[in-house]
Amino acid sequence: MRKYFLFAAYVFLALLVRQEFHPFSRFPMYNSFPNWGYVFFLKNERGETVPYEKHFSINKRAGYVAHTFYTLFSHHGFYYSDGKEKPEHMEAGGKELLSMIVKDEATGSFNFDSLGLYRRFYFLQEDTLTFRDDLMYAQRVKP
């Protein structure tokens, strides 16, 4: 019994808590494979992609921006899935995300004036991988 007590206790408590509440987790990573996946990226006013690593701090990366998107949308009670978000939610969420991305960055040294935050929506259409890019929000970032 001693061999399994903590195993059983942690499984029981994590299932009982029912939500993510550190340190209790159901470790839900990739527990389903829906027909959609999102990636968030930046473009400048010239339409060039702006890589996160070249212009932003280490905590501003595509993966972190995606995590923040889901947390932000859940926090505000905005629906997200299948590329069917409401336009007003996309704009409000995009504005909040973009302001977090540029916060505390040396915007004066940027070689562009404005940034647009885009959401790439990947999906399968008859076994063919395809995508759609949507502009969430754009703003001037250079002081």
Binding site: P23, S25, Y30, S32, F33, V39, P51, E53, H67, L129
Partner: protein, 289 residues
């Protein structure tokens, strides 16, 4: 070597095994804690215990320096095994605060195992007794096995066995993850690699379903790792293989889950040490078994 494995490697808990666990665990824990201080400057989306009090006090007005120093001091105490029941409990509390803070920034690095491993070790030291050497490792393995079991059951709860048959749709997630790398670096080769692997998954559906079925089986039977030291090691190797497969195909390594598993279930530094020492015969004089 077979005799050495059955008589020494899978029996008892020598000092060397614990020594390499301590070093590996502290190295990775401090790296993760350092990452939390880089990631978090405020608390925009309070989560966990941060819903009950203002966690931003942990990161403003140089408070983070205090916690950083505390993490380093606790690591030193852990390595030198000083006041271990209290030390591991404080490491549990510090991990609880810091990783909740990270999650309250919308960043889900899944560090729950780290936090719980320290609590499990604190319980082992509280119990003390003849089995302390075994318990401080085996209690941690129980938490890690629980994490894998929960991950498996979470898949069944969310998707049922469709999780296995839907596996070809993982091609979208593969392309998504390589796209993260592309948009981070601007290197088109990352995106190309993602496309190649996503198409492979679509073209070899049966193979992928088999792999996903095997990984779900491994997670759901993770409790078998608790039936003895030999099984802990074997399951560690199998889970290591699973993680390497996920890393290869999906470009994902969930550090806060992978490393505790690797350290407590495989302990590669100790394996290397054991092989070298057994080969030279040097070990017999150096460690008690």
């Amino acid at each position: 070597m077979r005799s050495a494995l059955s008589h020494r490697f899978f029996n008892g808990h020598p000092k060397a095994e614990w020594f390499f666990i301590k070093i590996s665990l502290m190295w990775i824990w401090l790296k993760i804690v350092h990452g939390v201080f880089l990631d978090t400057g405020h608390v925009p989306y309070p989560d966990g215990i941060c819903r009950f009090f203002d966690c931003s006090v942990l990161v403003v007005n140089n408070a983070s320096h205090f916690f950083y120093v505390a993490a380093v001091i606790l690591s030193v105490l852990y390595l030198f095994e000083r006041w271990m029941m209290l030390t591991t409990f404080l490491m549990f509390l510090l991990s609880l605060l810091l990783f909740t803070l990270e999650e309250s920034n919308g960043i889900l690095n899944r560090c729950a195992l780290y936090t719980m491993v320290f609590l499990a070790q604190s319980i082992a030291y509280y119990k003390g007794g003849d089995k302390l050497r075994q318990n401080r490792i085996q209690f941690a393995v129980q938490i890690i096995a629980a994490g894998y079991f929960l991950a498996g059951s979470s898949k069944l709860i969310a998707s049922g066995f469709h999780w296995i048959t839907d596996a070809p749709q993982a091609s979208i997630q593969i392309l998504k993850n390589y796209s993260y790398a592309y948009f981070d670096t601007g290197n088109y080769a990352d995106l190309q690699q993602g496309l190649t692997k996503a198409h492979f998954v679509l073209q070899h559906k049966f193979f992928v379903i088999l792999l996903f079925g095997a990984s779900l089986f491994l997670e759901l039977t993770a409790w078998v790792a608790l039936t003895g030291k030999r099984n802990t090691f074997i399951y560690g190797l199998l889970l290591l293989g699973m993680h390497m497969g996920i890393l290869f195909f999906m470009d994902i390594l969930i550090v806060a889950i992978f490393y505790p598993m690797l350290i407590f279930m495989v302990n590669p530094m100790y394996v290397g040490y054991f092989v070298v020492c057994e080969g030279t015969g040097w070990v017999k004089d150096r460690f008690d078994y």
